[in-house]
Symmetry: C2
Subunit: 296 residues, 2 copies
Amino acid sequence: MTDFAGWSRSVQERMEHALDRALPATGLAPGQLHEAMRYVALGGGKRVRPMLAFAAGEAMGADTARVEAAACAVELIHVYSLTHDDLPSMDDDDLRRGKPTCHARYGEATALLVGDALHSLAFQVLAEPRAGPDPAVQVEMLGILARAAGSRGMCGGQAVDLDSTGRQLDLAELEFMHIHKTGALIQASVLLGALAAGGLAAEARRSLEHYARCVGLAFQVMDDVLDAETDTATLGKTAGKDAAHGKATYLTLMSGRQARDYARELTREALASVSPFGPAGARLAEIARFVVERHF
Amino acid sequence: MTDFAGWSRSVQERMEHALDRALPATGLAPGQLHEAMRYVALGGGKRVRPMLAFAAGEAMGADTARVEAAACAVELIHVYSLTHDDLPSMDDDDLRRGKPTCHARYGEATALLVGDALHSLAFQVLAEPRAGPDPAVQVEMLGILARAAGSRGMCGGQAVDLDSTGRQLDLAELEFMHIHKTGALIQASVLLGALAAGGLAAEARRSLEHYARCVGLAFQVMDDVLDAETDTATLGKTAGKDAAHGKATYLTLMSGRQARDYARELTREALASVSPFGPAGARLAEIARFVVERHF
């Protein structure tokens, strides 16, 4: 088995090609919109969600070509959400993945349309013939993605985040927000990767959902830790922004050491959830470990 | 057969109930986001796209319960696009369907999220079990909706519109813009309604696509005519806005009389396209006539 660093690079490279094929060419009208869509979707990103999809696909024995469509779809939803989050009316951020944000580069109206177009493209990619193991499962996958992105998932988490700016949340409220804002799409990434293999037994599904929930929260806890402890250049995005905006973070509720301990506890739970998959679940386990060990 | 006015009211009432059921309750968290989604999606609108879906379903003998999901999906995409179009970075409009726009009422960040959440909800509704005649056709319907909404459809038309503000377009450029900005979703409305009956033969599909293209353009021509000739109170949205913003309209390229003649010519083409459907296509024919005879 390739080591984790090699495997994650191979996923990143594969995603770069897959997204390049999925995105309309800049030669197609409207060229500037397509250029801006490519600007935000290509050439960067850890591709954590695609990694989760490929790892879950591996756990269930899915064909990797089929997982690729699911991986593109979740990454496109993620990139659209970053583009809209960075807008002046939201987080008003000028730097993302080490380069100017979409609206800083192309203007606010174009950035709005870029997000909207990437959002539709995610569903288009997942609705392509052969993107699912069979049409019935494919419809289920499209429904999972739509719910994860919507008002009871990612968008809903954004709304709670917006609403909580400037006031202190308790741990339960903070986790409700994260479970929706980032957790829903992380869970969808794992489920779609697994469903690319075909139907999913109830027990395997519950295990994967619990794994995804723990990894999603651990990821967020570490994001807050790294955001507080790391400089902007290393992160590739503006450091310390949430705290400066009066947003609740894990570090307003616990110390850095406590937060790291909590992330490790979540990782242990994630590892326990995927142990029934045996060696096939090895990549899922590696991702859970990577989340608490990463430095950016 | 009910007269057209009675039929269109029955579609509007049916859509009000169907959208009410599809939209999350305000009692569900995040309540304010759900309230704002309901604010923009319920209680108004001509529901032209649902009418087209129901009429096309009737032409192909589709079950109306099945057409309803498709009608909700296209209307939700339409409402999301209006919400984003009205934003300050786009058209910056305060009035829509006779009431304050979403951002005027709930703020810009919430309006952005409302659009995003409605966008996802459209795909969620169309991915529900039983929303298609069978899973394979349902996947096709989801793909058609995604392409119609995306950068080669509605979003692309918006980008061209944005890019053309303040400069004169010729007729070919203006029609390219409209065929994408509004035509793509109108075509999707007709196709989805027809596909709710099951697979669609190539010839019927071509006829319906041509019908939709003509009706979509006629609708836009008449929009420009009415925008110039009607007051804000009757329209329920700000009159004369496009011309004031230096946007190209049919009336910058032809007289009001020429524009009306052109709309009538498009209507004749639309009627010819659906004549092979016989009496089953009567509602499609009525909509084509309504488009040029409407006063708001």
